[in-house]
């Protein structure tokens, strides 16, 4: 399970969100659907920033350039301010925001279970070893 797992999970979440959007608008109404959407988009940005921060800071070579790290830290503050703003909007039910926020983790969990059931990690490492030999 490499670093591409995070990117693929984010892409899958975006696709699931697009599929959910018309059904949510039809069955649950505008505000709950927008709240779920906002929660998921917030979680996606959170994971993206977290992944950028960890990839640029926690690595064997150390931090090369401090500029992007500072930008990510400032974006984190803005993201949390946006999260607080979302929680204080009276039309948005916090439970709907929470469901949207948890959606990303549910997709990550299901993807990990899928990879474990299909032995995708072992297969990909075997393919890499064969490619190395060839």
């Amino acid at each position: 399970m490499g670093l591409d797992f995070i990117d693929r999970s984010l892409r899958t979440t975006g696709i699931v969100l697009l599929i959910f959007l018309p059904f949510g608008l039809y069955y649950f109404g505008v505000y709950p659907t927008i709240a779920v959407l906002s929660g998921t988009v917030w979680a996606m940005f959170n994971i993206m920033l977290l992944s950028k921060l960890i990839r640029s800071v926690i690595r064997p070579e150390g931090v090369e350039n401090i500029g992007p790290v500072l930008v990510v830290l400032v974006l984190f503050v803005l993201l949390f301010a946006a999260g607080y703003f979302l929680l204080t909007i009276p039309q948005f039910d916090p439970m709907c925001l929470l469901i949207g926020f948890t959606g990303l983790f549910a997709i990550m969990f299901l993807k990990a279970v899928g990879r474990w059931l299909t032995n995708a990690d072992e297969q990909s490492s075997n393919t890499r070893n064969i490619q190395k030999v060839l």
Binding site: M1, G2, F5, I6, R59, P60, P94, L98, F105
Partner: protein, 78 residues
């Protein structure tokens, strides 16, 4: 002490305990990840992925506590 006062005390305390727990967990996770990358630099990608997912889950627990705070906050009367 009545229900309202207990709720007013318990809510911020609960969020604070969740934040302290998350901070301790995150600190431990980052420390272990740095140690593991130092020992095996070639496995940095895998360690980073596990670290990102772990950090997100630890952070999510604090956010859940915060959302519970917001939900229960409406129950505190004036």
């Amino acid at each position: 002490m009545d229900y309202q006062s207990m709720l007013s005390l318990a809510l911020p305390l609960g969020v604070a305990i969740a934040a302290v727990g998350s901070a301790l967990g995150l600190g431990r996770a980052v420390g272990s990840a740095m140690e593991a990358i130092g020992r095996q630099p070639e496995a940095a990608g895998k360690i980073q992925t596990a670290m990102i997912i772990g950090s997100a889950l630890i952070e999510a627990l604090t956010i859940y506590a915060l959302v519970v705070f917001f939900i229960a906050n409406g129950k505190i009367g004036g």
